[in-house]
């Protein structure tokens, strides 16, 4: 898909081509929402909201950065807003559904251990400060560089480095 051509087409009034962008990125956006927001938020609703906000923001897209970076920035903003709203009355870290992990390389016992570890990791992620969690998730997401993360989170590279360092340290402490 030639993203620039698709966006220019949408801006010219061909709204139907927006489907191509949604199809291409919906799974990635859902995964990112899940990792940053946890199971306490409605992932389908969040994903939907991200794409509606992306559509409204398309006229502002300058074609200087990658579309994916632009989408991740909107996703982070939408999810962080939702986390702030939810934290006023519910933080369901204890009831989080364990995430599925690829199972092909493991036997049954290893798979159970890994599932358990994944569940613990997800709960520990939920206890991190949202900024630390976002930076760490982006760091392991598509192997982003510090600059990419700074671009998505709209902060300095030094701050990203510090956030990731603290997130790793805190996670290690919680899981040891």
């Amino acid at each position: 898909m030639n993203e620039e051509e698709v966006i220019r087409d949408i801006l010219a009034g061909n709204v139907n081509r927006y489907e191509e962008i949604v199809k291409e990125y919906q799974t990635i956006v859902a995964n990112l929402c899940f990792k940053i927001g946890g199971a306490g938020i409605d992932i389908a609703e969040m994903t939907q909201q991200v794409f509606v906000e992306l559509y409204m923001a398309l006229p502002r897209f300058q074609f200087k950065s990658k579309l994916s970076t632009f989408i991740y920035r909107i996703t982070v903003n939408v999810v962080c807003k939702e986390i702030k709203r939810l934290s006023r009355w519910v933080t369901p870290t204890e009831d989080i559904v364990p995430p599925e992990v690829p199972s092909s390389d493991f036997n049954a016992e290893q798979q159970i251990i890994r599932q358990e570890q994944a569940k613990q990791l997800h709960q520990a992620l939920g206890r991190l400060h949202p900024e630390q969690r976002t930076a760490l998730v982006l760091y392991t997401f598509n192997d982003f560089s510090y600059n990419d993360i700074a671009d998505v989170m709209q902060c300095s590279t030094a701050k990203v480095e510090s956030l990731i360092f603290r997130a790793r340290k805190n996670l290690k402490k919680m899981l040891s």
């Binding site: 801006l11 709204v15 489907e19 949604v22 799974t27 995964n31 990792k35 939907q48 599925e100």
Partner: protein, 108 residues
């Protein structure tokens, strides 16, 4: 769990459900007009004009309040207002200039 394990698990973590939001998103975006850069510019101009108008109204309001709170005599106030509006201190002209009848009457 080692740090490498933690990072690897984070990489492997996936949303457990399936996601398909194409239909609801398309339904929503079809009803939303896309805000083009030209439209945004127009909106900015509109907001700027409103702000300027509000400032002008506020400035006039403050001036009038100051006039009435200072100990000017009636003639001074009439002269000042008349001067500002380039009118001679005339009852009818001042009323025409937009002053409420009550204000003009109070000046005289």
């Amino acid at each position: 769990m080692t740090e490498t394990d933690i990072l690897q698990q984070l990489r492997d973590m996936r949303y457990p459900g399936t996601i398909d939001v194409v239909a609801p998103v398309m339904q929503q975006v079809r009803n939303k007009p896309l805000l083009t850069p030209q439209f945004n510019k127009l909106q900015r101009i509109k907001r700027f004009s409103t702000a300027v108008a509000a400032c002008l109204i506020l400035a006039v309001g403050i001036n009038v309040t100051l006039l009435f709170t200072h100990n000017y005599d009636e003639a001074q106030i009439s002269n000042m207002i008349a001067e500002v509006y380039n009118y001679h201190a005339d009852y009818d002209n001042m009323a025409e200039a937009g002053f409420g009848v009550g204000i003009v009457e109070s000046l005289y």
